[in-house]
Subunit: 331 residues, 2 copies
């Protein structure tokens, strides 16, 4: 038995970075050894008093003192550059969540990790992540069927940001809400055809600047292509105090549901559902990232170099128990 | 691209064997090449007109014509002997579900499969199986928390058999039913402590022999140790016609729920739930077994010899798509 812990570094200290620090504090087999930031290190206040904070640009000099780097930046511009760059010298985990660009991000990270004999897991979290796993397993078990993914009720940061960019908006919080009737129809096993509008509604809580034209803001939100135009959207104007008091948390969740048939004449119906109800989206995502850091460490130990996703890694790698203990206790 | 299908044999043709035949008919990449039985082969009537049926004892002479054997016998006496025996010469999958004896069954199958350079997956299905996977992933993501497994509403074959062994009982069907209040309490995130009695009730539909002492039968059921004594049990006496009309299907299902906390002060709660609603327990189980046969075939191709469980095999092995397609379409 080794009594050394897996040495983890956090790269970027926002909501996810802080969530990773919290999640690591629950894992006996891992420790947070450093935080790296592009900001001025002295401006970062980790929860742990003794956690050292360094400049992102200096990370290479810590090569021998870090087992896994968890990248906590954004998918739009940070991760596409940072993950392949760091994968050459470190084992890495990220939560890259731009679904359409995953194949390309995978490719770049894979090339770097193979060259550097490192292991990487990209696109970890819950969607992509645990939700993806559920889509895979339920389709494999029930090939005749239809899969549905519902998100919410929860805060969408991307949609909140889109509202904030409208002229006259001071602050905003957007909730994605699954339509209860759609959820019920899917759970009943009927496999209904559902449009984008059928599945989710959008609720916007908006703080307007003094004297702003509320009617115009509401219209601009509701007509915004991609973000709102295809949805039934409700806009509520509230004060900054109300926003802070009632909408400062980041809850989220959702369901992956597969409705399928079996039998020689498809005479039997089955419904498989995986659902999450999360008080804190970034903290739950961080829990999956930290479990993935454990998996990446074990991949490296087993010389499984290159990039993987949750699809490619044996489930036992994510759990602190040994395969023997898992078979005896969880199977 | 190979255009050959994975050649699968079924060993034992009961409810599961028939379910596997049905499940294979939904998979383009696999075909049922033979059924093996300990009964007289001419007595077996497969659904497919051209499926050959052979004697179980002759299976060794088909060694080169079968890629994977799915064992469809019972966990009490069949599988502990058959799986290790066949694992020496064939890639095998079984649904061994006696949780307490899994480590020993794993060991026996692993030794045989390694010796014969074969691959094996034991204890596939939904519990053990998909439910086990959900316990593993949800614990890994949320180490601070409590896991719950609820079964039903569904028919327990073991409990139905136990009632049938009582003197004066002609036929019986037993449903395991989760207690709605217990489910609600767990889903609320409160992490309640629940006794065996708190979680499930048992409903028994019994056909008595003419003139039998109904009061004694009811008492014997309710007082039966392990099976019923620890549960609130209801007994309904019905006619054989009613049993056949209303209770001839084998529905089942259940939920794995993990209720956990995150944050530096455990200030955020999360509920992760995986649930199944199945019209046919044996057919859904068979769907997982067939996906496992695909995984075992790929394990053999990659020289991953020996015994594995769903914990040890990369998820992508179970799905017909390639890892590249899975990343592009399901992640």
């Amino acid at each position: 038995m080794k009594n050394t812990k897996i040495k983890v570094a956090v790269y970027g200290y926002g909501n996810i970075g802080r969530g990773v620090e919290a999640a690591l504090s629950k894992c006996d087999d891992m420790e947070l050894v450093a935080i790296f930031t592009r900001r001025e290190p002295s401006k970062i206040k980790p929860n742990g008093k003794n956690v050292p904070v360094f400049r992102a640009q200096d990370i290479l000099s810590f090569k021998d003192r870090i087992d896994v780097v968890i990248l906590c930046g954004g998918s739009a511009t940070d991760l596409p550059v940072q993950t392949p760059e760091l994968a050459l010298d470190f084992c890495v985990v990220d939560s890259f969540d731009t679904h359409a660009r995953i194949p390309e991000h995978f490719e770049h990270t894979d090339i770097a990790a193979r060259r550097g004999h490192r292991s990487a897991i990209i696109s970890s979290g819950w969607d992509p992540g645990l939700f993806s796993l559920m889509r895979l397993y339920s389709e494999a078990a029930l090939p005749c069927g239809t899969s549905y993914t519902f998100w919410g009720k929860g805060v969408s940061q991307g949609h909140s940001d889109a509202i904030r960019r409208i002229d006259g908006v001071k602050d905003a919080r957007q909730y994605t809400v699954p339509v209860p009737e759609a959820l019920d129809a899917v759970r009943s096993g009927n496999a209904p055809e559902l449009s984008v509008r059928d599945k989710h509604t959008r609720e916007c809580y908006v703080v307007a600047q003094e004297g702003a034209d509320l009617e115009r803001i509401e219209r601009e939100i509701k007509e915004m292509p991609n973000y709102f135009a295809d949805y039934n959207t409700t806009v509520y104007f509230i004060s900054q105090e109300e926003l802070l008091r009632d909408h400062s948390k980041l809850p989220h969740g959702g369901s992956v549901i597969r409705s399928g048939k079996s039998g020689f004449d498809n005479e039997n119906s089955h419904v498989v559902e995986f659902s999450l109800k999360l008080d804190s989206n970034p903290e739950f995502t961080s829990g999956v990232l930290v479990a993935s850091a454990r998996a990446v460490y074990r991949m490296k130990e087993n010389e499984m170099y290159g990039c993987k996703t949750l699809f490619d890694v044996p489930p036992s790698y994510f759990h602190p128990m040994t395969p023997e203990e898992l078979r005896a206790k969880l199977l």
